[in-house]
Subunit: 347 residues, 2 copies
Amino acid sequence: MAESVRQRKRQAAKAGVTIKMVAKEAGVSTATVSRALSHAGSVNPDLEERVRLAVTALGYQPNAAARGLSIGSLRNIGIIMPDMTNPYFFHVVDQITRGASEDGYRVLLASSYGDPDRELATALELRPQVDGLVLLSSRIEASGLRQLARTDTPTVLVNRVEQGVDLPVAAVDNVAAIMQLCGHLLALGHKKIVYLSGSELSWQDQERWKGVLLARHMGLEAVRVQAEGTIESSYAAVDRALESKPTAIVAFNDLAAVGALSRLRDLGIDVPGQMSVTGFDDIPLARHVQPHLTTVHSPTQQLGDLAWSLLSQRLSGSATTEVRYAVAELVLRDSTAPAAIPSVSIQ
Amino acid sequence: MAESVRQRKRQAAKAGVTIKMVAKEAGVSTATVSRALSHAGSVNPDLEERVRLAVTALGYQPNAAARGLSIGSLRNIGIIMPDMTNPYFFHVVDQITRGASEDGYRVLLASSYGDPDRELATALELRPQVDGLVLLSSRIEASGLRQLARTDTPTVLVNRVEQGVDLPVAAVDNVAAIMQLCGHLLALGHKKIVYLSGSELSWQDQERWKGVLLARHMGLEAVRVQAEGTIESSYAAVDRALESKPTAIVAFNDLAAVGALSRLRDLGIDVPGQMSVTGFDDIPLARHVQPHLTTVHSPTQQLGDLAWSLLSQRLSGSATTEVRYAVAELVLRDSTAPAAIPSVSIQ
DNA sequence: ATGAAAGCGCTAACAT
DNA sequence: ATGTTAGCGCTTTCAT
């Protein structure tokens, strides 16, 4: 009994103003209301006005589900990110959202919390309610990506390029950027660095490490120390990094660099006097930490625009699978300097 | 012609596997498929298995729009935030999202870009496709809020309490927190401070300034200097702040404090030796800037949980309009110290 | 230019 | 326990 009452209530609550009521109020057919509202077909100015009046009088708002069912699209896109706490992603999300809403799409946001399987599951789940999907720094394994590529849901990758996966991507050239960074360090006389990594599941981490490895051919000795690309994990990893007595630390991203900076300060190690530190991303904060961070500018805005334009294309039927690169450039600031003669030790 | 072809294509593209096809494949009725899938009503284990098989064989995924139309809900909630670049908001969004997805809701995200009118418009637009709405640090004026309260869309406010508005809210007690902060400063001998503000449209800014004004009664001289609660705007506002020769700067939030710290450093003013600085929010970064920031811990996780539980309640029919406060507490770190004897000047 | 009506794919009575 | 069927609210032919 209480059950049935609640049920009836819910039903009632959601029974809003329908197009039928507007039609009646305006003394026209539902077809005319629909046409008047969507500016499709032509409708007599008089009637159009009457419809407008009825709409405002009744406070009519079209039912999204009904419209979606009828036209075969909810006009939503989904964005999946690995981590909701990194400002970098949000700048990209922000930019994609601007593009999407200009074109009349809403954004469904989900996080995979760094778990590849969960990410794939989320992508699959989201499919029925979105027209398109953008995956930020996806960690889904290649086979999963291929599976997604086979579905009819337009999907674009941001900062992940995978051989043999038929998906458009917007990315930054991590390898080239890191090599530039290493070149800069070499020029300053650094011979031994440690790469303070991000998550091993991250494509960007693999690429950046690849860049470091290539720089080895240029005479740079490099050790990889594992962290997670967060302030805290990097803070904690610094002590391990120091064990190999580097003169510079190349951090996976700016957040990692901030963590490293913080730990080095606590240890009384001067940056850049005794140790150089670099970041990646160039988040707004980078120029305001002390010392101002030498980093790579990864253009979130451009990346977001690229992602949206790629998705737009797909949405309108074109099936390009291009990889578009945004230009990342070195930003030299104060956290790098000539290598200290003897490397420091905390022991 | 090209038009009609495209049209037909679109139609075809979206025509996925329907429940009807599954029913046929499994040799049962659509009702049985529906029941088997939703675990409602009882269905013979054999048939259930056959349905499962058919579903995987065909790769069936229910059409969200059709389901939404039928049950009267798309099971989406909307979150509107003023600014996509402040990590603080995203921690709250993250937490709300966890709660929502546990209960089977997806999250539609939108930004008002700080514009109150746009925010109201967005809220209204979102209504037809969401079951509920949460407004983060809403800047909608009171009348607009009242308008939203009258609609049948459950709505909760985070960090905004407005007299006479019938909406549940989850908030932090800004006034009390700021007064504590001022008490701390007074105890350190500070007599003259400047409040480096956030946007005047922000309720939180008004509250925090209110707190500062109350502290005046405790003998604290305070001047308000306008900024926007961002690193850059606060960086730029510091010079104006110094004109009134304060011994401490109370910044609207941590980002503002970081901007202030950065400018002070550039000016060669030592913090906390010559100038104390405080923030608000306690974002992860706060403990890692130099000097470690004295701030107010505003518990994003608790706030997010509160918001979701408030919305859940509303979603399930209850109509409470409670204001739930999350506890904000002072975090004393290294950016505050006893007042410098003479106030500094940059001239 | 306008209206009548047939779906869109699903759920939930209602029968059986 | 299972099937039949009537909607849900909108768009879009198809007639007129």
